[in-house]
Amino acid sequence: MLLTSVIIVLREVLEAALLISILSALSVTYSVRRGWIGWALACGSLSAVGLGLSIDTISGWFDGVGQEVINAFMQFAIYLCMAVLAFLIRAPAANGGRAAPVLPLVMALIVALAVTREGSEVLVYLSGFTADLKQFLVVLLGSAVGAGIGISIGALIYYLLRSMTHKRAQLTSTLLLVLVAAGLSSQAALLLIQADWLPAQLPVWNSSSLISEDSVAGQLLYALVGYEATPTAIQAGFYFGSAVLMLLIGAAAGIHYRRQRPRPRGKADR
C-alpha cells in the first residue's frame, strides 16, 4: 500500500515537476519574474480539485469516453501553449534580452494545466482510501514521499539547467521542451485511440525487451519524454510530427524576430 502510493504519486508529480523546473529555469534565463509560478500552482490546484470532483460526471460524456476526450484535449492544450512558448522564447535574443510580456502568462498556463491533470488523478486516488483513517494516513505518507522524490528530481533538473552556460541551458531546455511536448501530443493521440476516436492499429515496434515500460528507466523516460514501448503508427506520427512542428515554429520565430530587429539608432550596433 505504502509503496504503491509512493509510485503513483511520484509518477504524477514527476511530469508536472519536470515542466515547472524547465520553465522556472527559462524564467531566470530570460529575466522573467517568477511570481507566475505561485499563481499557476494555486490555479492548477484549484482546478485539479474541480476536475477530481467532476470525474464521475465527465466519465459519462461522449458515450463513456469523456475522461479520455477531456484529458486528450488538455494534453493538446498544453502542447499548443508549448508551441507558442517555442515561438516566444526566440524573441529575447533578438530584442536585446527583454522577454515578451505574455511569456509568464503562457508559462503559467502550461503549469496550471499540467497541475490540473496530474493533481486530479492524485485526488481521485486518495479519495479511495478516506473510509479507513489508518489506511488513509499510510497512503498519505506514501504520497508525501512520492511527491518529495518527484519535487527533488525537478529541483535537480532545475539546478542542472541553472549550472549550465546560457547557450547550453537554452539548447538543453529547448530540446527537453520539444521532447516533453511531443510526448504529450502522442499521449493525447493514444487517449483518442482508447476512446475509439482515432483508429487503432497494431504496434509498429516493440522495444519492451530493451526498456520495459514498468521498469524504473521506462517509467522515468515515460514521464520525461513520453516513452512508449509499443506505439502504433498514429502515436509515432504524432510524436515525431509534433516534435518537428515545434522545431519549425522555433526556426520560424528566429527568422521572424531577426527581421523585426530594430535598426540601431545613434549608439554603436552590438
Partner: protein, 114 residues
C-alpha cells in the same frame, strides 16, 4: 504569433475529423469485466485476435480503481459503482497482462488474444 491561430485551427480540425471517424465506427464485440473487492472477475479474458474489442469494466467496489496495462497501452480510472468503456485491440495473438493501479497486489488479470 501568426502560427498560433493556424495551429489551433489544425488541432480543431483534427478533433472534428476524428470525431467524425468515431461516428462511423462499426459495432464491436463487447467483453464484460468486473471489479469486486479489488479483484478482477474473470481474471482471464479470451478475445479474438486482430479484432477491436469494447471492454466494459464494472467497478462494484465503492472506491475508484484504475485499469492499467502496459502491454495493451491502456489506462483509465473507473469510479466506484460505475461502468467504464475501454476499447482495446486489434491485438496480435498473445497474452496481455493488466492490473488495477490503485491495488496492484490483488487486482491482476490478463487478456488472451487467440
Amino acid at each position: 504569433m501568426t502560427s498560433a491561430p493556424r495551429l489551433l485551427a489544425c488541432c480543431l480540425f483534427l478533433l472534428a475529423a476524428s470525431g467524425a471517424a468515431g461516428q462511423a465506427r462499426a459495432e464491436k464485440p463487447v467483453v464484460a469485466l468486473e471489479i469486486r473487492n479489488h479483484l478482477f472477475w474473470p481474471s482471464e479474458l479470451v478475445v479474438p485476435a486482430h479484432t477491436k474489442i469494447k471492454l466494459q469494466v464494472t467497478n462494484n467496489d465503492p472506491t475508484p480503481e484504475e485499469f492499467e496495462s502496459y502491454e495493451l497501452n491502456r489506462e483509465k480510472v473507473i469510479m466506484g459503482k460505475r461502468t467504464a468503456v475501454i476499447f482495446i485491440g486489434p491485438l496480435a495473438p498473445g497474452e496481455y497482462p493488466f492490473f488495477g493501479e490503485f491495488h496492484p497486489r490483488t487486482a491482476q488479470g490478463r487478456v488472451t488474444a487467440r
